[in-house]
């Protein structure tokens, strides 16, 4: 691999570390993951040559490395698996006493158009950063690493019903954050109140 390519990869490091922290909530582990991922890319430059985009290629490697670290770090108790505090009211706050929604959920407009916007993903990363640590880790395992509930429970040692509730809370929090910081500023059809 050329020196230039090497430099290009090296320039990605800070952004990759920031991204790994989203998942792991631990700077040391995040730096280890990125180090491993960059080495993996450097060791197999020919594999990258056939890929359409360096970003897609690095994303795939990062997924593998993050899963590995989540597995071993839990065993070695390097990551916090305590339940997040102050999460109880997230769901309650959505509903009135009779079970109706307290507020109308807005329409978010054309999904394809939204997903084409780079800035949308920046806002989403900021919203993910705001999630409590354990909630975030479980949500990322489910939605980004695409593990199923049983696998997550096996890795983190919690019950499936507990994971369902945590995923529900994560979705509610993300929805609120995206609504406030993205969709409220987009020119889309608003739902009737």
């Amino acid at each position: 691999m050329s020196t230039e390519h090497h430099k290009e990869l090296e320039s990605m490091r800070p952004a990759l570390v920031r991204f790994a922290i989203l998942h792991l909530r631990n700077e040391t582990l995040a730096e280890d993951v990125v180090q491993d991922a960059l080495i993996a890319v450097l060791e197999k430059p020919d594999r990258f040559a056939g890929q359409s985009s360096l970003r897609t290629y690095v994303t795939g490697i990062m997924k593998h490395k993050i899963i590995d670290v989540l597995r071993s770090a839990h065993r070695e108790r390097q990551i916090e698996t305590q339940d997040d505090q102050s999460e109880d009211d997230v769901i309650d706050a959505l509903f009135r006493a009779d079970g109706h929604t307290a507020q109308m959920a807005n329409r978010w407009g054309d999904p394809d158009g939204t997903l084409e916007q780079k800035d949308f993903f920046r806002v989403m990363e900021i919203c993910l950063e705001k999630l409590p640590a354990k909630t975030a880790r479980i949500f990322m395992m489910r939605e980004w690493l695409e593990l199923d509930t049983e696998e997550i429970c096996k890795e983190l040692g919690c019950t499936t019903s507990n994971v369902w509730v945590m995923l529900y809370r994560a979705r509610i929090r993300l929805r609120e954050c995206l609504e406030l910081n993205w969709f409220a500023h987009q020119p889309i059809v608003r739902a009737r109140e």
Binding site: A15, R55, I91, W108, L115, T149, Y168, R175, A191
Partner: protein, 77 residues
Amino acid sequence: MKKDAKGLMPSCREVHRLVSEGQDRNLSFVEKVRMKMHFLMCEACTNFQQQMALLRRAMRKMEVPVDDVVGRDKDRN
């Protein structure tokens, strides 16, 4: 323990939970019917379901923030 109403007509509270859990497990036939019945008459829950579908698609599409950094670097050189 669950605050979902279990009457004949499902509440928004129950349906919201089913929408989320439906992304993580197979819902029973009865749960699916209750949810779909509710969608027919509830715009809030229908919108919520679409929001959750978008959230899932967005997460699956998310890639590491690499291009931006490389792009910025090229600008600088």
